[in-house]
């Protein structure tokens, strides 16, 4: 036990020296002079951000495994078992397979659009990890416009889908691209309007400030009842529709359109598309947790809270574990929905978005507005 502790101490000491070492390394480049506390702080912050980004990517390896296992159990199967313990390495094997495949492109495809759509989707997905809060003062970057930034980065998906579908020069891709863009546009608007209620209460776009307000005054899911509860349900369904998961996978609809706008993509391009889909789902689940379910808050505040619980709420490790548990419950819920419901029909679904969810989201905003007026006065 003591040897283990000394090993941990050694590792921590080794990590401590890394910023200084990097600084000396950078200073060896001609014309670069980085000195003082600020330079060291900048390097520490960038290393931490990189570590958080890597953490999200590692979770993107774990979440699909959990999804496949849970889905298999719900269908009475065993799921992946052969590669690694409990089939844990199945996804890594899949990715390796995709990377080593031959890189093919349809002869009549438009090279520029074909590549551009993949690059745009991949880059915007990685960009969206930045402002996600993991504990108090622990986020890739503490942006003042964090929420707006994530929506801005995601808004590139519809044009990228349409472009990819058109550039593949295949009828399945083109129809799939149309459906994807129509669906994304129809559900982006209720999603944004339902979030406005949260912003009215938090009075900030900053994700950390939003969680901090929930930590102080209670989670948003039960505040301004039933305004924000409605917003939560709308946001949840709209985000499921945005990620094109199975009950809403109309653009793919494998019986009709093979793989929708992604039909012609293979090899590493298909790998990037898988990454984009899973991380889109993952980021949306994190957004649901952060906006409505308290984010990294361990338990909602109530009167007469025992002292140890109050201490636990302030502990950063507990906060980090709490948000991870919430995220994986979200993954479980999404999988549950996926195995339970059959696919919608395109016209019903688009109508549902424009004619039901949009008015409901406006109504929820009105309710929240009424509460917020009383709240300020």
């Amino acid at each position: 036990m003591s040897s283990l502790l000394s090993l941990i101490d050694k590792i921590v000491e080794g990590i401590r020296d890394i910023p200084q070492w990097l600084l000396t390394l950078l200073n060896r480049i001609p014309y670069v002079e980085l000195q003082g506390k600020n330079a060291e702080r900048a390097i520490v912050v960038s290393l931490l951000s990189a570590a958080l980004g890597t953490y999200v990517l590692l979770n993107l390896l774990l979440a699909p495994w959990i999804e496949r296992k849970v889905m298999a159990r719900m269908m009475g199967r065993r799921g992946p078992v052969y590669v690694g313990k409990f089939g844990l390495l199945q996804l890594i094997a899949d990715i390796a397979k995709l990377l080593f495949k031959e890189d093919t492109m349809p002869m009549t495809a438009d090279r520029f659009g074909f590549n551009l759509s993949i690059y745009l989707m991949g880059a915007s997905t990685i960009m969206s990890f930045g402002p996600l809060p993991w504990a108090r003062d622990l986020a890739g970057t503490n942006m003042s416009i964090g929420l707006l930034y994530i929506f801005a980065v995601f808004s590139v998906f519809p044009p990228a889908m349409l472009l990819g579908g058109w550039a593949s020069n295949s009828k399945y891709s083109l129809i799939g691209g149309f459906r994807a863009a129509a669906q994304l546009v129809a559900y982006e608007i209720p999603m944004m309007i339902s979030v406005l209620g949260v912003i009215v209460y938090a009075q900030s776009f900053n994700l950390q400030a939003i969680v901090e307000d929930q930590y102080q005054n209670g989670w948003y899911i039960y505040r301004a009842f039933p305004g924000l509860l409605m917003a939560f349900v709308i946001f949840l369904f709209a985000s499921l529709a945005e990620t094109e998961r199975i009950p809403f996978d109309i653009p793919e609809a494998e019986a009709e359109l093979v793989m929708g706008p992604r039909t012609e993509f293979s090899g590493w391009r298909y790998g990037i598309i898988l990454l984009v889909e899973y991380s889109h789902m993952f980021v949306n689940i994190i957004l649901v947790v952060v906006l409505f379910l308290g984010g990294w808050d361990v338990i909602f505040p109530f009167n007469g809270m025992p002292g140890w619980l109050a201490d636990l709420r302030d502990d950063r490790l507990a906060q980090f574990i709490a948000i991870n548990i919430k995220i994986y419950l979200g993954v479980f819920f999404v999988t549950w929905v996926r195995t339970t419901f059959p696919r919608f029909r395109i016209d019903q679904f688009i109508e549902w978005g424009w004619k039901t969810l949009l008015p409901l989201s406006l109504l929820s905003l009105a309710i929240v507005g009424a509460y917020a007026g009383l709240y300020v006065a």
Binding site: G113, F151, L163, L174
Partner: protein, 174 residues
């Protein structure tokens, strides 16, 4: 770090100009829309480096997302995916060039009027941690000091819309 910001800014400007040129010179409308998307992204990142992250996000949501999707949809629905470039010089082109120059002149005067007093030193580095009343400041500035800017920008958008209608309209074969 001033040189670093300037270098980035120059890279972004060159990228944006190249993409804008590509949008003008390509023969497929869909491709032109893709170039337009990249141009608008370039403009958004220019905003970011000038220290206005709010405008950056709005530029991405409205122009990078909404407007380009509208363009792509309308192009695909009108079915006119390719068009012929004018190879020879016609009188029409002269009028077009004159209008373009006029618009460019108006915008330049406008920009000089609005930003003429400032000198960009690179100190406007993005301070993403600052939570000020950014929205309020922006709204006040837009509707008091610079309230004549929006209508003139509207004229630019109108001309762009007329141009796109001209490109997308299907000529009746007699």
């Amino acid at each position: 770090m001033g040189w670093f910001l300037e270098f980035n800014m120059i890279v972004i400007i060159i990228f944006t100009l190249f993409m804008a040129f590509g949008a003008l010179r390509t023969d497929k409308v869909m491709k032109a829309a893709a170039y337009l998307l990249l141009t608008l992204w370039g403009v958004a990142f220019a905003y970011l480096f000038l220290g206005s992250e709010y405008v950056f996000a709005i530029q991405l949501i409205v122009y990078g997302g909404g407007i380009v999707v509208l363009f792509l949809f309308s192009v695909l629905l009108t079915g006119q995916e390719e068009f012929q470039m004018d190879k020879e010089f016609v009188w029409n082109n002269l009028v077009q060039i004159l209008i373009a120059l006029l618009l460019f002149f108006t915008l330049t005067v406008l920009m000089l009027d609005v930003f003429g007093g400032y000198e960009l030193t690179g100190n406007e580095l993005v301070v993403l941690n600052e939570t000020q009343d950014l929205t309020q400041t922006l709204a006040t500035a837009l509707f008091t000091n610079y309230n004549y800017v929006l209508p003139i920008l509207g004229i630019l958008l109108l001309s762009a819309m007329l141009g796109s209608i001209k490109i997308a309209i299907r000529e009746e074969e007699l």
